[in-house]
């Protein structure tokens, strides 16, 4: 039992934090609102650091590490509202392609090329949530690689397409950097990656990884919102003193901080369970996502309340964090979705 990150993992995280503090300011996020783009110089920097391929096997140009290594880095992406699809490309698409590649019954001619593309940073990926195969996919507008789901004769099928083979219709999002898109595509034998039991296995693992990766991004967002709000409450004066000296304000901020404190180990423990392949990864992922969603939503709620009217403006940066939080809180299962999934699992396990 040693429930902590290693020095190396934390140093890697700190290096990413330094890079993103320079290359992903709120002005940069605002620029991405105006002109969303999948590939940026910032993305290339992250790729050169090995981050896009962190969870891709070494044989395909990656670092062969796991979700535990990636989670602290995805938190940093959340902290700065990184516009690029790091969690989905590095945390979900890479491991999904690796899964497909290890199953004899799965894969197509492009899988290895895609794995290498994810590792090198040449590709950004969008991954569909299998529960909503017909809905717009986050990041699909502008992504290079689409990992999609279709109904097949033996249940859901997993498909992969180069974006050049599937025109994407852009769908507006409250957070424009989410780049929602509806791919115009028809499932074909060429696009098929897995069907039947193999697809079901891949889809289940993807749902858990995506919940945890998204949870990690929400941790970073919640931390950033609470930190900004605490700073604001120290500065802003009313009745002749900082509003942060009033208990009514303190207790709002403290309540969000307590939720965040308990969401963190839930996300880290779930990442470990997934890497380790323990028997209860689905439960762990549900606890992680439910806690992270609730923590970020509460942080968003109190941040807006404590900022007051200025927080409700376009000029104040807070809304960049709020919008990403609201989107991710629902993505890959809301807190309530995961509680429902958990109770079914608890009953089945009795």
């Amino acid at each position: 039992m040693h429930f902590a990150f290693t020095e190396t993992q934390l140093e890697f995280r700190d290096a990413v934090r330094q890079v993103l503090a320079k290359e992903c300011t709120t002005d940069d996020v605002r620029a991405a609102y105006e002109a969303p783009a999948a590939r940026t110089g910032r993305w290339d920097t992250l790729a050169q650091m090995g981050i896009t391929g962190l969870a891709v096997p070494e044989a395909h140009g990656g670092l062969g590490l796991g979700l535990v290594d990636l989670v602290p880095i995805i938190e940093e992406a959340g902290r700065v509202v990184l516009p690029e699809p790091l969690a989905m490309t590095a945390g979900v698409a890479g491991p999904l392609l690796a899964d497909v590649n290890t199953t004899a019954a799965g894969g197509n001619a492009h899988v290895v090329r895609w794995l290498e593309g994810v590792a090198s940073g040449d590709l950004t990926a969008a991954v569909a949530d299998a529960r909503y195969p017909k809905l717009a996919v986050a990041g699909a507008d502008g992504a290079d690689l689409l990992l999609l789901v279709a109904d097949g004769p033996d249940g859901p099928e997993l498909h992969g397409l180069d974006a050049t083979d599937a025109p994407v219709i852009s769908v507006p999002s409250l957070d424009p950097t989410r780049r929602l898109g509806e791919p115009a595509w028809v499932p074909s034998p060429e696009s098929l990656l897995a069907s039947g039991a193999v697809a079901a296995w891949c889809i289940a693992r993807t749902a858990d990884r995506a919940a945890v990766a998204t949870g990690a991004e929400l941790l970073g967002l919640a931390d950033a919102m609470i930190t900004r709000t605490a700073e604001y409450a120290k500065d802003r004066q009313q009745f002749g003193k900082p509003i942060g000296s009033f208990q009514a304000v303190k207790h709002l901020v403290a309540g969000a901080q307590v939720l965040l404190e308990f969401a963190r180990p839930a996300v880290y423990g779930a990442a470990w369970a997934i890497d380790e392949g323990t028997g209860d990864t689905a439960r762990a992922a549900s606890v992680a996502k439910a806690y992270a969603s609730d923590a970020a939503l509460e942080a968003a709620r109190i941040s807006l309340q404590v900022h007051g009217a200025i927080g409700y403006t376009w000029e104040c940066d807070l809304h960049l964090f709020l919008k990403r939080s609201w989107a991710l809180a629902e993505a890959w299962g809301s807190a309530a979705d995961h509680r429902a999934r958990l109770i079914d699992s608890l009953l089945a396990g009795r």
């Binding site: 902590a4 609470i226 605490a230 208990q247 839930a266 423990g269 509680r339």
Partner: protein, 388 residues
């Protein structure tokens, strides 16, 4: 990162489980520990625990423990709650006073007090709160006056809400030794024999009608110098020091809530059979309560690792206290909703433990520093907000 217990820790678990399976009395067979008979029955149980060195596993062997670490203590607690063993009547001493005594006590004090604490031959209550000093603990007014002739201190004043105070043999309390000093200074931490002349105990029936706590009156109570814990005038620091270390972790072990959450899922499954509509309306809160317990377990392992790596608990202890007290309530509130109209039955049925547990849980956000005070600590010491 590794969340597996080691083989040695699992072997320790097996040993604890075997012993507990062979010795734990039938669930709820002991009378309430807040009655005279129940107090003695629980004392006898703890003496049995101590006889085989299971009462204070993390203490050094010379004081009755097994010298194991905090992770082994967590494993033992998992087994203790899994076995549905009785509540610990000696918990004030074992979990609140002992860590302080290990840090600040003299060798003589440790030799004198720790072994009978471990065996429950002497049970301790806490004398901190006063009628006019609850959340504002530094406002205590009970005084200790120096008596150089006798080599000690003469205590006078009133303490209240002393859990186990109705029956305890000893009290650890804070008294003002320097009325001129600033509020947080001038306090001293005393160990008081409740049989000393001048000590009067008035039990206070709690919300369940039983005397879980008491008022303590001190009229010229003499306490010799060797019963001062830590330095004279440093009582506040002595009392608070261990809050940020291991005690911040060990006041409530996660196993208690994990076990209650498991029982809640059983209750939910029963309710699905008997009254499926009611059960479904509670599904979300049952899942939330289970998650709260699981998040507490993971957070405890996270914090324990930090402590083992040389870190401290710090103001996170306040976040911890808010979380476990809310978790206890969310578990029991969900259970009462599943029981529905039967929730008010207060006999010996399956529902009684939930109602008793609910009443107990209600106190959680109040004692050990109200959750409002804890939120102030989180805001001020974790996030740097200014003091009011």
């Amino acid at each position: 990162m590794d969340l597996h217990y080691t083989d040695a820790q699992e072997a320790f678990r097996d040993e604890a489980r075997s012993w507990l399976d062979a010795h734990v009395p039938a669930p709820r067979s002991l009378p309430s520990l807040d009655t005279a008979a129940g107090f003695e029955a629980h004392r006898a149980w703890e003496a049995a625990l101590a006889a085989d060195r299971w009462s204070v596993v993390s203490w050094p062997e010379e004081f009755g423990g097994r010298g194991v670490g905090i992770l082994e203590w967590l494993v033992f607690e998992e087994e203790y709650w899994r076995a549905q063993a009785p509540l610990r009547v000696s918990q004030n001493g074992v979990f609140l006073l002992a860590p302080t005594m290990f840090e600040f006590g003299t060798d003589a004090q440790k030799q004198r007090f720790l072994p009978p604490m471990a065996s429950a031959a002497e049970i301790w209550c806490q004398g901190w709160s006063e009628p006019d000093a609850g959340s504002d603990l530094a406002g205590i007014r009970s005084r200790a006056q120096r008596s150089d002739d006798e080599g000690g201190w003469v205590l006078s004043g009133q303490k209240t809400w002393a859990s186990r105070g109705a029956f305890a043999e000893w009290c650890f309390g804070l008294f003002r030794t320097d009325p001129e000093a600033e509020r947080h200074r001038g306090l001293t931490y005393f160990l008081i024999d409740m049989a000393t002349p001048g000590v009067t105990v008035r039990p206070i029936p709690q919300i369940d009608g039983e005397s879980g706590f008491a008022e303590l009156f001190f009229e010229d109570v003499f306490v010799p110098d060797e019963l001062v814990l830590g330095e004279v005038g440093k009582g506040w620091n002595v009392a608070m020091a261990t809050a940020g270390t291991e005690r911040g972790l060990s006041l409530r072990s996660p196993a208690r809530y994990s076990r209650a959450a498991e029982r809640l899922v059983d209750l939910y499954a029963d309710c699905l059979d008997r009254d499926p509509d009611r059960a479904r309306r509670s599904a979300d809160s049952v899942a939330q309560a289970w998650m709260d317990a699981e998040a507490y377990r993971l957070n405890t392992l996270w914090t324990a690792t930090r402590v083992l790596d040389g870190g401290s608990v710090g103001p996170e202890a306040s976040a911890n206290k808010i979380h476990w007290s809310q978790t206890d309530l969310s578990i029991h509130r969900a259970a009462l909703d599943l029981l529905g109209p039967e929730a008010e039955f207060h006999g010996d049925g399956v529902d009684a433990p939930w109602l008793d547990g609910f009443l107990f849980a209600l106190a959680g956000p109040i004692y050990a520093g109200t959750n409002e005070i804890q939120r102030n600590v989180v805001a001020e010491r974790m996030l740097g907000l200014p003091r009011g």
